[in-house]
Subunit: 234 residues, 2 copies
DNA sequence: CGGTCTCTGAACGTTCCATTAACACTGACG
DNA sequence: CGTCAGTGTTAATGGAACGTTCAGAGACCG
């Protein structure tokens, strides 16, 4: 699968205007995306549960439940990327959106071509991307808050360096999946890390363990998979 | 504490039907909110004084005192956000409510989930909203009065320049959230600040710290998050 | 058992970033 | 016109984080 091939990915489009939904759907489908539509908050939540979308396009102004509430609803359940749509002149509380973990904003009327482009961008980014603010990860006695970039283990705050935080966040959002050191370099470090020394990862894993494992000599959270790499265990 | 964590916040629910109160209380408690109940105007006012709620859910149709009178009672005392409940068919004078300063409306019968969502939204909005004159922010030993644009730290008045005040006010109204320098530029400075030097923020943070931190070399209020930005700590 | 991989602990230079002080620009005001 | 507070920029400094390396110990596997 090439990077620009999004076949099999699903996008949920939430807007109360059928026209908007239709146009958006047309353009996204053309990119090989599956599209699910919803016209209000309730059906959006239902569709979210059912279709497990890889991305959500969300109108801020919706009947009954507004987009921001919906966004935090989504955020309380997943880390899925979200692109918000706002009408011109609408008071776009960008900060609120960013705090809640919106990935991008588009002001209506927007060009569908541009929306499609943003969708592609966000999807690409979301592969390796870290956590959205508002989506607090809690596994075991670990608690990762991307908003404040704080980590607690067993209620006790732990100081992590940026790389350590990013590394942990990545692993925690892909639990039980094994990653080679080179993969982690690719995902957590800047792009083009092919030339880098994979043992860099080893060292960072080590320092991480010393901070978050109750017994670093016998790691329970970040497991070594022999000959392969590491795995985050819940 | 994440943004979607409202623990410690108190909501006052005013309705004469015990059933309604119970259902609402159940849902709000689930969100980590403390809930106080009142069944009529008099007890509502008492509860308001005692529990100092962060938000009020107010039925319009109450025995003895109606909701609108109660709303203006509240308004004369505080800036607390209010969500009004109106029965279907009741002549819902939206305009009247909005003039008196209601933040949102819900028509009975309403879905408790939706009410909970609106409560979250309004609470978040009141977090992020610019400061209303007359509404004083107090966190820790900091006291920020937007009306007079005065700041006190530990009872001692502190002179801040306009930018310093705006910067502090923004951070204080978004506690624990990390903001990049560029984000702060965007929010506190005029729009279209992309070309500006982010180190401008650094300098202002520094000057702020010297004025409000008891020990500027070891800041406790405005925390540096390395490689990311700054965070306001309560 | 022997070979391979990983962990440990430390050290090192490097790079990046926040801090700091100093300076230049601006508009307000007397 | 001169002063001054507020502001933004710049350059120097210091420190935190990073990547790398190494040697010895330990773990795993065939």
């Amino acid at each position: 699968m090439s990077l620009s091939d999004f076949s099999g990915r699903t996008v949920l489009v939430v807007d109360d205007e059928p026209m908007v939904r239709e146009v958006v759907t047309t353009y996204l489908t053309r990119d090989g995306l599956d599209v699910t539509e919803a016209s209000d908050g309730a059906s959006a939540l239902r569709a979210f549960e059912e279709s497990q979308p890889d991305l959500i396009v969300l109108d801020v102004m919706l009947p009954k439940i507004d987009g921001y509430s919906l966004l935090s609803e989504f955020r309380s359940r997943s880390n899925v990327p979200v692109i918000m749509l706002t009408a011109r002149g609408e008071e776009t509380d960008r900060v609120l959106g960013l705090e809640l973990g919106a990935d991008d904003y588009l002001v209506k009327p927007f060009s569908p071509r541009e929306l499609a482009a943003r969708v592609r961008t966000v999807l690409k980014r979301s592969d390796g991307a870290g956590l959205h603010p508002g989506f607090v990860v809690e596994v075991g006695d670990l608690r990762i808050d991307p908003g404040s970039r704080e980590v607690e283990v067993g209620g006790r705050a732990v100081e992590l360096t940026p790389k350590e935080f990013d590394l942990l966040a990545f692993l925690a959002t892909h639990p039980r999946q094994v990653f080679a050191r080179s993969q982690l370099l690719e995902q957590v470090w800047d792009s083009n890390t092919a030339w880098q020394d994979p043992s860099t990862v080893t060292v960072h894993i080590r320092r991480l363990r010393q901070k978050i494992e109750s017994n670093p000599d016998n790691p329970k959270v970040i497991i070594t998979v022999w000959g392969v790499g590491y795995r985050f265990e819940t």
